[in-house]
């Protein structure tokens, strides 16, 4: 099974090497599958086909979106706390006109 994965990635890198020869590829070891893996390979699923298209740019998009959504959620949580504090200020100092 490991052999089939290795073969898969060798095929992929051969394809990449042909068009990277002109641009001058940066040599890297990122592209070796972690050797502890022993998992059967399958045909790419629909999700994979989308994510792998256009030289995997959608993986970067997904990563950036996760960060963006995370920041939004954190700000919303902070906002909710602020609303609660404002409410307790209004309860404790009912006559105060804070101009808000």
């Amino acid at each position: 099974m490991t052999k089939s994965i290795v073969a898969l990635f060798q095929n992929a890198s051969q394809v990449a090497v042909t068009d990277s020869a002109a641009t001058g590829t940066v040599s890297t070891a990122y592209d070796s599958l972690w050797t502890g893996a022993d998992i059967p390979t399958q045909a790419p699923s629909a999700l994979e086909q989308v994510m792998l298209s256009d030289e995997k740019i959608f993986v970067v998009l997904a990563v950036v979106l996760i960060i963006w959504i995370g920041v939004i959620l954190l700000i919303l949580r902070t906002d909710r706390h602020l609303t609660r504090v404002e409410r307790s200020v209004a309860e404790n100092i009912p006559d105060a006109d804070d101009g808000l």
Partner: protein, 230 residues
């Protein structure tokens, strides 16, 4: 107290800075790398999450140290909020890492989690911070809570460099610098460094903005309700 004027200036700078990083991250080209292809750009987004978490842990630990020295409730609030936002960046880091590896190295395998040493150690670190928050909620007396949780937080800060950095480098892993893999400095194109280092500064700045924002709210809450939890 928080210097609101400085906060506003830094906030605007960080927003502008990160906008430029985002544009540069997508628009600047570098030689194509096998297997990675465009996902190499995740270097600008996934990796700074961990630098930011590390910076947050040191900020949090510093204020916990000050809590033990002075017992100041504002220091306690700062330590808690830095730990919260730091953990938030850790969760973003591990989620983006899962997506990156799933569609780059684990294609055709249906694997979302492969027990990479870094993933395991980072999960442990996030659980340690989970323990910090649970410990806080378990203690009722504010003074005691501030001091006991400060000691635990110092332990969390001390564990972090080992769990995120030292141990994963000794083992076989997808990550650069691990056993058998070349270090980051040997394989990264100069164009990528041009974006990568400013990206770290940008995301640490984003941490500072989100953290200061929460400190402002938490300090206001403390002044109204005498409750430092948030």
């Amino acid at each position: 107290m928080v210097n609101v004027k400085r906060y506003t200036v830094v906030r605007n700078l960080v927003f502008g800075w990160l906008t430029v990083i985002l544009l540069a991250g997508f628009l600047l080209n570098f030689p194509k790398i096998n297997i990675l292809e465009h996902t190499a750009r995740n270097l600008y987004f996934h990796v700074p999450m961990w630098f930011t978490m590390m910076a947050a842990a040191f900020v949090s630990g510093y204020h916990s140290w000050k809590v033990l020295q002075t017992g100041d409730p504002l220091r306690d609030i700062r330590a808690l909020q830095a730990a919260r936002v730091g953990t938030f960046f850790g969760i973003l880091g591990i989620t983006t890492g899962i997506i990156w590896s799933r569609f780059t190295w684990y294609v055709g395998t249906d694997v979302w989690w492969n027990f990479d040493p870094r993933q395991i150690m980072v999960s442990i670190q996030l659980l340690i911070y989970g323990g910090y928050f649970v410990l806080r909620s378990a203690l009722d007396e504010p003074g005691k809570r501030a001091k006991i949780s400060a000691v635990f937080n110092l332990f969390a800060m001390t564990a972090l460099p080992f769990l995120l950095y030292v141990i994963p480098r000794q083992m076989e892993s997808l990550h650069p610098g691990a056993e058998g893999n070349p270090a980051f400095s040997q394989i990264t194109h100069p164009v990528m460094r041009l974006v990568f280092y400013p990206a770290i500064i940008g995301f640490v700045g984003l941490f500072w903005v989100l953290y200061t924002q929460r400190v402002r709210v938490a300090w206001l809450k403390y002044r109204v309700t005498q409750d430092s939890e948030m």
